[in-house]
C-alpha cells in the first residue's frame, strides 16, 4: 500500500534533504511564576542525521526542550529565556518549516477542512505559488501513506491517520529536523506501530535529524541511535547508545513511570474502598446482571458550518451485559462504537433503537405510587441527574472535562454530597482513596492546575467515591505513565471488588488481560450513500462573499419601510427570490431538507417578532396596523438570512475575504481555523453537561440554578478554547505562520456569474423597498 521511495521522487522537488545539527547551549527557561527553572543551563549537541529518543519522568521538561529546539518556547507561554539554540547554525525559525513538529494530540494541529488543504498550509505561509502546491501536497500525502482523496475531511481520519497527516504537513516544508512530541501516546499499539514505521521510513529516506519524546520506549528504540534521559530537575542524567543507557538506568527509569521494554508491567495499585452503607455497589449479588443493553442502535449527528448536518451510525444492534463484580472490556478498532455503546448502557445518550434495562433494585423511586412505578421501568437516559449518579459512574477520555469541584477534595466529594450520603463516612472514604492514589498533598489544590496524569487519577477517584453499581471508563489508560497506569487499574479493580459492574473501552493488553469478559466490536456498516448525486440548490452555487453581501442588503430596509403594506410587499419579493435560490435545476436526485432547514432557522425569529410586535402594539395606541408594520419590518430583516446562512462555508468565506477584499491574512486564517472547530465546542459542551449529569449535579430545574450552571459550563468551554488555541498556535507557528503577513492561498476565490446574480437579487430587495415606500400607502 505504501509507495516505495523510488516512486516518490517524481512528485517532490527535492525529496532527499539533509539533516541539520542541533546545538543547545546553556539554555535556561523559567516560566513566569515558577520559582525554579524547568530547564537549567542545559547543553545538548545533536549531530546532523542523528536520531535521538528523549526520555524522562513527567515534568522533566522533555516537551519544553523540544519546543525550545523548534524555537517556539515563547509561542504559547511567557517566561525568562537565556542561552542559545541553533539548528544548522541558524536560529530555529530563521527558515520557516525547517524544523518540523508533530504534537501528541491527533488532530490538534488541523487548520483546514480537507486534508489536502491542511498539508498546503505551510506552503501558503511561505508564499509558494498555487500552481506548485498540488504536486507537493500529493507527494507528501503519499509519503506518509495517506491514500484517500485530498478533499477528505480531517475529522474522518483515525488517530493514526491524523498523526500521519500532521507528519505530511511538516514534511511538505522540507524540514531538516523532525521533532515528535509523544506522537503515539494517544494511539493503540497497532496504530502506534504504523505511525512509527512511517516515521522510520521518512527519516531514513530523507536522512533527517530526529528527536522523539516518548514515555513508552519500546518500538522507538529500533529507530533511534541515541537515548537521552532527563531527570525531574531537567538535567541530562544519561546520554548514549540506547542499549547501554537502558542497561544502566532502566530500573530507575521504570520506577519514575517510564515504560521501559523488558521491565514487566506494574501491578495494579492496591486501593481499599471503605464500605459505604448507602452505596449502590454491592446491592446485587456477585455475578447478577446490573444493566443490559440489547439490540442497541446509537446515531451521531455531526455538523459543520455551511453544510447540512449528517447522521452516522455509531452502534448498530449491539448487545452488552454488565454484571456485578465483573469487568467487561470493549475492544475493537477506532470507530467501532465502543464509547457510544458504553454511553448508551449507562444512560448517557438516548439510543435510537433497542433497549437498556437496569436491574430493578437499582432503579429510582422505590415508593409505591404509580408515577414511581413508571419511573422504575424508565430507561436510564430518562432518569434525573441524582438517580443516574447513584447507579452510574463515567470517566471520559478527557479527564479535564470530568472536573466539577473547586478543589481536589471537593471534586471527589461532589457526588456523595449531591446524593445525600453521610458526609463523615464519605469523607473518610474519599481521603483513603486520595491517599492511595497519591493525591493527598493536592487535596486543597485547584484540580484544573494538576498535570494530565494527576487529573486522570482524580477522575477515577471521583467516579467511584459514592460506590456506584456501574462504572464506565473510556480508554482510561491511554497515554498514562506506569505510575498512573497502576493507579487507574487499581481503582477499577477495587470497584469490581466492591461489587460494581465495570465496563471499560480499551486497546491496552494489560487491561484486557485483567477483564472477566472481552467483547469485540466491529464498525457498523454505514447505509450506502445514494449513488445518484444530489442536485445543488442555486444558493449553493453562489460564492460565500456574494451570498453574505446579498443577505446584508436588507440593512437599509428599516429606514425605508413605514407601513404594513410596504413591509408585506418587500417580504413577498424576498421570499420569492429566496425560494428561487432554493431551486435546484439540473440532473440528479432532489436535495433533501431544504425547507426544513429554513423553517428551523425561522423558528427562533418568531420569538424576536413577538417582542417587537408587542412593544409596537403597546406604544402605537394598541393599533394592530402599527404592530404588524413593525413585525413585518423585522421579518424583512431576518427572512433572507434563514435561507442563506446554511450555505455559508467559513473556509471559502475566508478565502474570499482575504483574496477579494484583501483583509489581513493572519486574522482571517485564525478565524477560519477556529470556525472549523465549532463542532468540537458543541461536543465539549455536551461532554461537560453529561459529566454534570452523571455526577449528580446537573441543574434539572429552576432558572437560577440553570443560569449558574450555564456560567460554570461556559467557563469550562473557555478553558477548553484557550487550551486548543495554545496547541494550535504551536502547530501553526511550526509551519511558518508567525511571519506569514503575506501569503498565498491554496483555495481559489473566483467570482462567477451566479455571484453577480445573487448580488443583483440583493439589490433588487433594496429597490423593492424604495419602490414600496414611493408607491404603497
Amino acid at each position: 500500500m505504501r509507495p516505495r521511495a523510488e516512486d516518490l521522487d517524481a512528485g517532490a522537488p527535492s525529496a532527499v534533504t539533509r539533516g541539520a545539527g542541533v546545538c543547545v547551549a546553556d539554555l535556561t527557561w523559567r516560566p513566569f511564576g515558577r520559582a525554579r527553572p524547568v530547564l537549567d543551563r542545559l547543553d545538548l549537541t545533536i549531530e546532523p542525521g542523528e536520531r535521538v529518543l528523549l526520555a524522562g519522568p513527567s515534568g522533566s521538561g522533555k516537551s519544553t526542550l523540544l519546543r525550545a529546539v523548534a524555537g517556539l518556547l515563547l509561542t504559547a507561554d511567557s517566561g525568562d529565556l537565556s542561552g542559545s539554540v541553533t539548528v544548522g547554525g541558524q536560529a530555529p525559525q530563521a527558515v520557516p518549516g525547517s524544523v518540523g513538529l508533530v504534537l501528541q494530540d491527533p488532530g490538534a494541529g488541523v487548520v483546514a477542512s480537507s486534508i489536502g488543504r491542511d498539508v498546503a498550509f505551510g506552503l501558503e505561509n511561505v508564499s509558494i505559488p498555487v500552481a506548485e502546491m498540488p504536486a507537493r501536497v500529493d507527494a507528501a500525502l503519499r509519503e506518509v501513506g495517506l491514500t484517500m482523496p485530498a478533499d477528505s475531511a480531517p475529522a474522518t481520519l483515525s488517530g493514526g491517520e491524523a498523526q500521519r497527516l500532521a507528519l505530511a504537513g511538516a514534511l511538505v516544508m522540507e524540514p531538516s529536523v523532525l521533532l515528535l512530541d509523544e506522537p503515539t501516546a494517544m494511539l493503540d499499539a497497532g496504530t502506534s506501530a504504523e505511525v512509527r514505521s512511517v516515521v522510520g521510513e521518512v527519516v531514513k529516506r530523507r536522512n533527517l535529524t530526529l528527536v522523539v519524546v516518548e514515555h513508552r520506549l519500546d518500538g522507538w528504540l529500533d529507530l533511534v541511535d541515541r537515548l537521552v534521559v532527563l531527570d525531574a530537575s531537567g538535567a541530562v542524567v544519561a546520554d548514549g547508545e540506547p542499549g547501554h543507557v537502558l542497561a544502566e538506568h532502566g530500573e530507575r527509569l521504570a520506577a519514575q513511570g517510564i515504560w521501559v521494554p523488558g521491565v514487566p508491567d506494574p501491578e495494579p495499585l492496591a486501593v481499599d474502598l471503605e464500605p459505604l452503607a448507602q452505596a449502590a455497589a454491592g446491592r446485587l449479588p456477585d455475578g447478577r446482571l446490573v444493566a443490559a443493553a440489547s439490540r442497541v442502535r446509537v446515531e451521531h449527528r455531526s455538523r459543520r458550518l455551511g453544510e447540512r448536518s449528517r447522521t452516522t451510525l455509531a452502534v448498530d444492534g449491539a448487545d452488552l451485559d454488565a454484571r456485578a463484580g465483573r469487568t467487561v472490556a470493549l475492544v475493537g478498532p477506532s470507530g467501532a462504537g465502543k464509547s457510544s455503546l458504553m454511553a448508551a448502557l449507562g444512560g448517557l445518550v438516548e439510543p435510537a433503537g433497542g433497549s437498556v434495562d437496569v436491574a430493578l433494585p437499582l432503579t429510582p423511586a422505590e415508593a409505591g405510587d404509580r408515577a414511581a412505578a413508571r419511573d422504575r421501568l424508565a430507561p436510564p437516559h430518562e432518569w434525573s441527574s441524582p438517580d443516574l449518579a447513584r447507579v452510574v459512574a463515567w470517566v471520559p477520555q478527557r479527564a479535564a472535562t470530568a472536573i466539577v469541584g473547586r478543589t481536589v477534595r471537593d471534586d471527589v466529594l461532589t457526588t456523595p454530597l449531591a446524593l445525600g450520603l453521610d458526609p463523615e463516612a464519605a469523607g473518610r472514604r474519599v481521603d483513603a482513596v486520595l491517599a492511595a492514589l497519591g493525591l493527598t498533598h493536592l487535596a486543597g489544590a485547584d484540580p484544573r492546575q494538576l498535570s494530565g496524569g494527576e487529573q486522570r487519577r482524580l477522575a477515577m477517584a471521583s467516579a467511584v467515591a459514592h460506590g456506584p453499581a456501574l462504572v464506565l471508563a473510556d480508554e482510561p489508560t491511554v497515554g498514562q505513565d506506569r505510575l498512573t497506569w497502576a493507579a487507574v487499574t487499581g481503582v477499577l479493580a477495587a470497584a469490581r471488588q466492591e461489587g460494581a459492574a465495570v465496563v471499560v473501552t480499551t486497546h491496552d493488553p494489560g487491561v484486557v488481560a485483567d477483564a472477566d469478559r472481552v467483547l469485540t466490536l466491529k464498525a457498523p456498516v454505514q447505509p450506502a450513500p445514494d449513488p445518484e448525486p444530489e442536485r445543488r440548490p442555486l444558493l449553493a452555487r453562489v460564492g460565500p462573499l456574494a451570498l453574505l453581501i446579498a443577505a446584508l442588503c436588507v440593512l437599509p430596509l428599516p429606514a425605508l419601510l413605514d407601513t404594513w403594506r410596504q413591509g408585506l410587499a418587500v417580504l413577498g419579493v424576498e421570499v420569492l427570490l429566496c425560494v428561487v435560490g432554493l431551486l435546484a435545476p439540473g440532473r440528479g436526485r432532489a436535495p433533501e431538507g431544504r425547507g426544513r432547514g429554513v423553517l428551523a432557522r425561522l423558528a427562533p425569529a418568531a420569538l424576536a417578532l413577538v417582542g417587537v410586535g408587542w412593544s409596537a402594539w403597546l406604544l402605537g395606541g394598541r393599533d394592530l396596523e402599527v404592530a404588524s408594520g413593525a413585525a413585518l419590518r423585522v421579518l424583512c430583516l431576518l427572512v433572507p438570512s434563514a435561507f442563506v446562512v446554511g450555505f455559508l462555508d467559513p473556509e471559502r468565506l475566508g478565502d474570499h475575504l482575504a483574496q477579494r477584499l484583501r483583509l489581513p491574512p493572519r486574522p482571517v486564517v485564525a478565524a477560519t481555523a477556529a470556525l472549523q472547530r465549532v463542532q468540537a465546542f458543541d461536543t465539549l459542551w455536551r461532554e461537560l453537561m453529561t459529566t454534570r449529569r452523571v455526577r449528580g449535579v446537573r441543574a434539572d430545574r429552576g432558572p437560577v440554578e440553570r443560569g449558574r450552571e450555564a456560567v460554570v459550563v461556559t467557563g469550562g468551554l473557555l478553558i477548553g478554547a484557550l487550551g486548543q488555541a495554545a496547541t494550535l498556535a504551536l502547530a501553526m507557528d511550526a509551519r511558518g505562520f508567525a511571519e506569514a503577513r503575506r501569503r498565498t492561498w491554496a483555495g481559489p476565490a473566483p467570482w462567477r456569474g451566479t455571484d453577480t446574480l445573487a448580488l443583483a437579487a440583493g439589490l433588487l430587495v433594496i429597490v423593492a423597498g424604495v419602490a414600496a415606500r414611493l408607491l404603497l400607502p
Partner: protein
Amino acid sequence: MSSTITASGPLTRWRTIDLLTCAFLGVAFGVAYWAWGLVYAAPSNAVSAAFPPLGALFNWPWLVAGIVGILIIRRPGAAVFTELLAAIVSALIGTQWGVTTLVSGLVQGLGVELGFAAFAYAVYHWGPLLLGGFLGGAFEAVYEWYSYWTDWGWSYKITYLLLLGACVAVLGSVVAVALTKGLALVGALNPFPPGQEVRERRAV
C-alpha cells in the same frame, strides 16, 4: 491589581496565539450566545411587556465576549475581533437575527474598543471598563433603535440606551472581569498579561 502588565512588543504586533485565542474565545462565546439566544427571548419579552426598554436587562450578555477579549489580549482590535467572531458563529449556527448579527457584533465591539482606546490601551481597570461597556451598550442601542425599535418615542429610546449602557458597563464588566480572573487563576492565561499578573503576585 497593583500594576498593569500590557502585551509584549509593539501592541499592534499580534502573536499567533493572540489571534487564535481571540478567534477561539469568539467561537466559544458564539456557541454560548446561540444557547443564550434560545432561552433569553421568553423572559426578555415578559419584562418588555410591562415596560419595553427593560429588555436591556437581558441584552447585556451579548457584549461580554468583546470585553473578555480585550481584557485578555490587551491589543488594539481585540474587542472588535472577538465580538465579531462570536457574532459570526452564532449567526452561522443560526440565531434569530441571522447575518444582521454581524452588524450588532461590529458596533458592540467598536464601542468597547473605544473605551480602551481612550486610555491608550494602557489601563485595564474600571475606567476603560465602564466607559467601553457604556459605549458598547450605547452603540448597540442606537443600532437597535434603527432596526427594531423604530416605533419607540425618544423617551423610550433614551431610557433603553442608558439602561443598556449601564447594564453592560456594570454587569457586563463584572462578569467579564470574573471570567478573566477565573481563567487566570487556573493557569489558562499564562501566555497573556492577566496570567502574568497573577503569577507575578504569586511568585516567590
